[in-house]
Subunit: 194 residues, 4 copies
DNA sequence: GATGAATGAGTTTTCATTCAT
DNA sequence: TATGAATGAAAACTCATTCAT
């Protein structure tokens, strides 16, 4: 799985030959088939394991005694760090997710389960904001969680060309909470400086 | 290109054989090579043409005499409609984009140009909000434009299971402007009711 | 199909790689797949075509004005010649037949149809013997036809080590008609001398 | 060897993986190689052992004080029963025989030896018929033995679709002795009723 | 210009065989 | 002696691309 993840850095599923995975992993090609039912399965399992690891990180990092804003920022940072450190895995999640969703059948279901875990991990944090009155109550926490993840994804994929200052975790958390209208500047935020 | 787009509805680039594209397009297989240098090129051109069409829509739909909120909502609607009507093309843009970015070389540059057009079309709208004071000024309009696009993308791909009411264009525009904290309820917004 | 037949001379279905067939046939490997749906199909079609050719030979060679014994001998000769000339094809028929019968499904049915044609071609000849009183009437002509074919098959595969004189077509026809008890010697037979 | 025989019921040599043989035999895969030099060897030995067992049966069942016709019928019954009870083994003999004969080398020789035993066991019975005058003397007993075996093989493989009455052991023995011309009906035969 | 038959490099997958334990 | 994890050669099959018509 590490070899698969590594090769995903520069190529997509279909462009990666199992020959290469075997070579990088330094095992025989047949060995792969002892542990994964087929190529699809190898990449699927790898992606899923990444999902799960991120969930574990999120659950672990829920500190107590923080304001909602602080918690949210911490969440953004956790996810950002993961995205940065495991970029290829992140790509795999995106592209295997696309395949899994399209494929239908048991694969689709298994995939959605893992994605749901992720969504709920973030939603739990936002739900605390709703409870504390820091977040509006009209929309499900799950929906807001997806938007937050969407912003983080956008930052990771689409804003690479922008200077760090305008795409900091703090700015994402701030935009997520206050929107682009923003609070009255300049005492914009009680968030810790990023 | 229409044939390619149509086939993309259910399958990915690598799963689509040119034989099929030719059959669906009702031309000889060799003919494709008279107009595209490559299989890659066929899909790339198709994706790019979709990008451009969306840009055209955005530029056309910029009405005058609207408040910022109204303009933004209109923008969301325009994009949403396109995403809905041309779902396969949208998928193609995502996946060809991933390939183009990774491939390096002239392809990458060409792709980024088209994406920049899109970003700027949205950014222009947001810039008007900054000018009018409806949008904070600390962040580049381009960055905010990407976040908006990210929200729309999230809605299209990740929130299909949610009821229409919690993922309306109006709610996206509202969240984008005011954030999850929301305006002082209940006279929440000058936005038209969705 | 000629290449397949030729390679079958020394090897069995599973031992023959399509690479070789392509090389011998002097076509690209992919070309084979333009005309046969898969490896199985190539060998099946080849075997079937052999069956059909043998049937054609049998039907063509039915001369008139011969005694039953003469007709039978001629039949034996026709089949023997075919077996000798097209030994690999004959082997293919045997082994593809085994596979087709085991495989079940449409293949099995298609195969049985062709085999039935063969059986009936021989049975028709024997039926004339029954009509003329040269052959007993208690058993279906089809059953007797299979036994005759069985003897010819035995001769071709199991009696290669025996001298030609004891495995002549005439002796097979004679044994088939009169059995091992034989007619009252020495004016044993009205059959032409082989 | 029992596992191999059992798996041969539904599949051919090449379709049976040693993994399966090992699993069915409930031994480790490596263990097979302690007792057989080869996959080939395993199946060859199994087939050969079947041959030998049939020979043993034939030799054991040679009762005294029977007419030739009775002895022959008994032989047919013995062989038929074996074919019926051990159908997969019978198939294995056929297909391993084909491989062994084509392979050349020591294998071919070893195979022919075992086949010769079989042939001779049947030939011995026929030789008694020659001695007693029940069988013509012009042809070697071995040749006639092969034809008899050929008829039995035909009955087992090609006449499955026929009603039992027209493919009884008695009818085979009768056809073998008297041929299709048959004795003067209806007091056709001194054979015991089947 | 249009075509589609031919091609063969490239890919996934299987499985007999080995060998360290 | 028994094992079964590891292996990599081998094989079927696909498909982007070419090119003679």
């Amino acid at each position: 799985m590490q070899a698969a993840e590594q090769l995903f850095r520069t190529r997509q599923f279909h462009e990666i030959a199992l020959d290469e995975v075997a070579r990088v992993a330094d095992v025989g090609k047949g060995t792969i088939y002892l542990y994964f039912s087929d190529k699809e399965d190898l990449f699927f399992q790898t992606a899923v394991s990444g999902y799960d690891e991120m969930c574990r990180l999120l659950l672990k990092n829920v500190a107590n005694g923080l304001t909602f804003g602080e918690t949210l920022l911490q969440t953004c940072t956790t996810i950002s760090d993961f995205f940065r450190r495991r970029r290829p895995l992140f790509r795999m999640i995106l592209s295997e997710g696309a395949r899994a969703l399209e494929s239908g059948g048991g694969l689709r279901k298994r995939w959605l389960e893992h994605r749901k875990s992720m969504r709920e991990a973030v939603a739990a944090i936002i739900a605390r904001g709703i409870a504390s009155g820091d977040v509006r109550s009209g929309l499900p926490a799950e929906v807001l969680a997806e938007y937050l993840l969407g912003m983080l994804r956008t930052r990771a994929w689409e804003l690479e060309d922008q200077p760090e200052t305008v795409r900091s975790d703090a700015s994402i958390a701030d935009l997520f909470i206050h929107g682009v209208a923003g609070p009255a500047a300049p005492e914009r935020s009680a968030l810790p400086k990023s």
